[in-house]
Amino acid sequence: MGLKENLHKLKMKYEGKKMAPAFNALHTFLYLPNMITKGGTHIKAADDLKRTMNTVILALVPCLIFGMFNAGFQHYAAINGMPEGMSFFSTAFWNMDNFLLGLVTVLPLVIVSYGVGLAIEFLFAVIKGHEVEEGYLVTGMLVPLIVPVDIPLWMLAVAVAFGVVIGKEVFGGTGMNILNPALTIRAFLFFAYPTWMSGDKVWVHEAVERAGTPDAISGETILGSYAQNSDVMYSLQDMFFGFIPGSVGETSKLLIIIGALFLIFTKVGSWRIILSTLIGALVMGLIFNGVVDAGWIQEGSKFFGLMSVPFWQHLIIGSILFGAVYMATDPVSAAQTNKGKWIYGFLIGFISILIRVFNPAYPEGVFLAILLMNVFAPTIDHYVIQGNINKRKKRLKVKTA
């Protein structure tokens, strides 16, 4: 028990000092603090914010591990050709070569994301004298999963710094931000370095370096193929299992669904938002299918490719599923009332597919849709709450009349 006592002594020594939040952040990482209730309820439920955030991270770990294997797999597949009809547990995917290549490309992204982000969190906590909040633990995990595998590390570092400072700290830290910090980072990357974040090269390791050489390989995503009305060479099974190019962690729909079920079961993620986002996406997909069926859009139109995708396939291409499960459900930037969550989620799904179809330059709309709805979430809540307020006013009127 020596460690516990020594840490306690250190805590007492640091108490009230400038560096106390930094020390406490590390201390509470090891030990649940010895804090007791003062006034109010004398007992408290077992959950704290660390546990909640940890649950989200647990749900993300399978996606990260799959992403590492997939980074290697896509690289070798682009060179040696894609194996046909793989099952989910195929050794062509789950092998050491794939993993090692993935490890050396993906792990640095994770380290940079956490390193830069947490450094800024600690800095702000020490300057402002509050405890280090846990919000970044999830953001730091999300960021490597939603960037292209070959993104230069300096670019990522700049984006993380921007996203944490402008997206979160200026509003007052975790719980106060308007926009989802991970998506703020993604948006910064997209608008600051558009050539890196879109196009047909960046999604597979070394595709950029090899471009124009005899060894050139393709690095295009399915959405890219659709947007250019070219043929898609991946089977539905590959899309569902995730053996396709894309951002690091968003390709495996199977693992995302497992993560979603885990989040819903633990009551950490809002099933209302996840479900309504998917409904919204399906509805928009159906509308576009209807447009194609009605013959308003002819083959040859630049929108035809994505509009004619069967509506349900929209869920397994691109990152709408990942966005719905891990991004839209961020409780701080989402709508906060239960009714509002239905509206919020539905509009995210709806607008995602809208942007996806009408923006061929960058055919993934989910992050823009979520950021847009983040901005509107307080407005949605306002009107939902106004309903409750009006009910109260009406009650008063009936009484006095």
Partner: protein, 450 residues
């Protein structure tokens, strides 16, 4: 019997240490303590100075700004000490009991024929008025108003709560007298919520009985008001905890102030939890010693674990209004990786590697550890699961925190008391002090509007 109330959202907290239905009488206490903090927003003006003599039923102090509102001595004796804190605020008033008990007797009032003014006067001079609370603001009722209705919850769903029928046993006559008198003070009805058709209140007259079912906080009077007839702006309702009705009725019937109470001593730190007959302000130590403590490092609470007030670990005294004294272990220890390892021995409403959902009937021994640090509000939607009132809890709390009076009023602050937010505080992942936030919000509204 009116139509029933079904409460759907809520949470029953099952804890170890329920009192067995066994009643023990205690010997007279040597010292008695009255804490002015038990009377919210009352600034005491002392009637008796240090060293002064008091008979049982003599007033000790009155409320500044309301001379009729008095607090009486539970015992005849000598006022030995007035303990003061910062800015000379009175913290505790000590009374040393005499061997020979003398008593001040007031006029009796026949509640079936008395006028409202006579009843009010009897309860004001007889020290019973502070038992009557009002909403809005959850403060001691203003004797100048006529409430729209009076609400009494005839049972409790709070963790380890005392059984109301057991606590009021043998006091049927007094309770009836108090209920009849109350029915004269309101322009509406006296509503009593009960959870069984055979209890003490089922046989009472001059009341409207309501069958209530569901998890905690179904037994909170605030929940019952919200389901029956919420408080609108401009309206006032009164609420009375059932255990006070015996003292109030006895004052009318005999003119005597009888501060005797049956109190449930509960909690996982006690060897053998049971009921004791004691008095308001009496010493707790002899009783706790008689029951036996399982451990040394405990917290003694006047009231239940959700809404009670922490009192001195040694040398504590019974509070003015509570019917339960809870003793639970202090949790001032570290827990290795307590934030991420699976948890089986604590209650949780999530399933984030917490497993209390596996075994809903299990009883828990919870400590006073906060299980985490204070954070900004992050999660949403979880309070609503345990909050049965037709009010948005998170938004109301935030309105209180930013002192937005218009929004507080619009969101329904006139309807709530801090205890209504006890469960949301218990499950709060960000460990925010909900009851304190609501209390400060209500006090602000009372000052600015009320």
């Amino acid at each position: 019997m009116s139509k029933g109330i079904k409460v759907k959202r809520g949470l029953d907290l099952r804890l170890v240490g329920e009192a067995s239905k066994e009643l023990v009488s205690t010997r007279e206490s040597n010292t008695y303590v009255i804490k002015p903090s038990d009377f919210h927003l009352v600034v005491p003006k002392m009637i008796v100075k240090e060293g002064g003599r008091l008979k049982k039923g003599d007033p000790i102090f009155y409320a500044k700004g309301n001379e009729d509102l008095k607090v009486l001595s539970p015992v005849s004796g000598t006022l030995t000490k007035i303990e003061r804190g910062a800015k000379r605020v009175i913290l505790r008033i000590f009374i040393e009991a005499d061997a020979q008990q003398e008593e001040t007797v007031y006029n009796t009032v026949d509640s079936s024929s008395a006028k409202p003014e006579e009843i009010k006067k009897a309860w004001l001079q007889g020290g019973c008025w502070p038992f009557i609370m009002q909403r809005p603001y959850d403060v001691i009722a203003n004797q100048g108003t006529t409430p729209r209705d009076i609400f009494i919850s005839g049972f409790s769903t709070a963790p380890l709560a005392a059984d109301v029928d057991f606590v009021l046993q043998g006091k049927e006559k007094e309770v009836q007298a108090a209920l009849t008198a109350l029915s004269k003070l309101t322009s509406g009805k006296v509503h009593v919520g009960v959870n069984s058709t055979s209890g003490l209140f089922a046989a009472m007259k001059d009341i409207e009985l309501h069958q209530v079912s569901g998890p905690h906080p179904a037994g909170n009077v605030g929940t019952q008001i919200n389901k029956l007839s919420p408080v609108n702006k401009g309206e006032t309702v009164w609420t009375i905890a059932p255990q006070h009705l015996a003292i109030m009725g006895e004052m009318l019937l005999t003119g005597k102030y009888n501060p005797e109470r049956i109190i449930a001593f509960v909690g996982s730190s006690l060897e053998n939890p049971k009921y004791f007959k004691t008095k308001i302000g009496a010493e707790l130590d002899p009783i706790i010693q008689e029951i036996g403590l399982k451990e040394e490092n405990v917290r003694v609470i006047n009231g239940d674990v959700l809404t009670g007030v922490q009192t001195e670990k040694q040398g504590g005294h019974l509070g003015f209004a509570n019917s339960v004294v809870t003793v639970i272990p202090e949790g001032d220890d570290y827990e290795f990786f307590g934030w991420n390892k699976p948890v089986f021995d604590k209650i949780s409403t999530s399933r984030a590697l917490t497993f209390s959902w596996l075994n809903p009937k299990k009883k828990y021994e919870l400590t006073t550890n906060t299980n985490g640090e204070h954070r900004a509000f992050v999660l949403t939607g979880n309070y609503e699961e345990v909050f049965p009132l037709d009010i948005y809890p998170l938004q109301t709390l935030k309105a209180c925190m930013v002192k937005d009076l218009d929004q507080m009023e619009a969101l329904g602050m006139y309807e709530v008391a801090p205890e209504d937010f006890a469960l949301t505080e218990f499950i709060c992942v960000s460990k925010q002090p909900h009851q304190q936030i609501i209390r400060e919000g209500l006090d602000l509204m009372y000052k600015e509007i009320g």
